[in-house]
Symmetry: C2
Subunit: 200 residues, 2 copies
């Protein structure tokens, strides 16, 4: 016996697609589900199949949703907002929503500019963004891409494009995280924090 | 928006049944599958559903398999063997099979005695084991349960039962692992290694 029974081995192989799951973990997960939680695993199978089949992108903001417009884009209190926050992923959008701070609309790039990986403006839906800017309904664009090389490049690229449409463009602040310890903050963040200092 | 779209949120909740997956990881896995690997996720959904529905236990050795008898129990070169190795789980059986050392049959307990968790002799299929010992086809029993309190208790319980049937009972050796460093081996293991010393 070099392998488990065919169906069990198929399950173990299929589990390898999960991020961070190697051969040993896949085996452990498969056996644990079979031993202890067959009902839960059946539910997971259904949820996976339905989500992969039905969940697409919002036609306006490109976040993941199974309807034409997502909950935010179809909410009249928010869809009329003139602020548009641009984020790299649905999880970034979710993190911002959790703060309750921002009450405008979003545009989800579903990635960041990365020419080496073949991700250009078309893959990020920037044509759709331009159309929305062209209608004049957006007065303010807030760039909330990640503070990484790709995130910076994406932010500058979009900022350049926004110039044509006379909208206010800003980027979220970089600095020392609240509750963080200055001693353990890296140099680049610290110099961002200095250059972005504000009068009290 | 406190949540993702209903189907996506259902997927995130369903992923929580996987061992070691919390809310954040579940979210990351769901979004990553939607973004990058819908085909793989569909395959995983199918493999999960099929395995949970079809995979049962071998009627002879209780390991996981979808047929009445597993590959080992239905292999004539092994099913006639008079050696029976008793292990706690299918993954332990798999680990022993990987060594290629043992050519006999197995009996998989699918657990270890643990009265506090409601796991007694019946849950481990010890009645089935007794029947097999009663037929006289087993000459040697090798106890390969884990070297833990529960594993020890299970091994001693089964060894007591075997006494009635005049079979040779042995337990796998405990000692210093090969390639290990004496300095870092715990005291109990080291004393096991001393008491189990062999003449060269």
């Amino acid at each position: 016996m070099n392998k488990f029974s065919p169906l069990l081995q198929q399950l173990i192989d299929a589990l390898r697609i999960l991020p961070g799951v190697g051969p040993k973990s896949a085996q452990r997960i498969a056996l644990q589900l079979l031993e202890r939680n067959r009902t839960g695993a059946m539910q997971l199978a259904k949820a996976l199949a339905v989500a992969m089949e039905k969940v697409g992108h919002c036609q306006q903001c490109r976040t993941f949703c199974e309807t034409d417009l997502c909950a935010i884009c179809s909410d009249p209190r928010r869809s009329d907002s003139q602020s548009l926050c641009i984020v790299a992923s649905s999880s970034d959008q979710f993190a911002i929503e959790q703060t309750g701070q921002f009450k405008g609309r979003y545009f989800v790039l579903q990635g960041q500019l990365s020419p080496l990986d073949g991700i250009g403006p078309a893959e990020l839906g920037l044509d759709l963004l331009q159309k929305q800017l062209g209608t004049g309904s957006v007065q303010e664009v807030i760039l909330a891409t990640n503070p990484t090389v790709e995130g910076d490049a994406t932010a500058y690229y979009i900022a350049e494009q926004c110039k044509k449409y006379q909208v206010n463009v800003s980027r979220i602040a970089h600095g020392v995280p609240v509750g963080g310890d200055l001693e353990y903050v890296d140099g680049t963040t610290l110099s961002h924090a200095f250059s972005g200092r504000k009068p009290i």
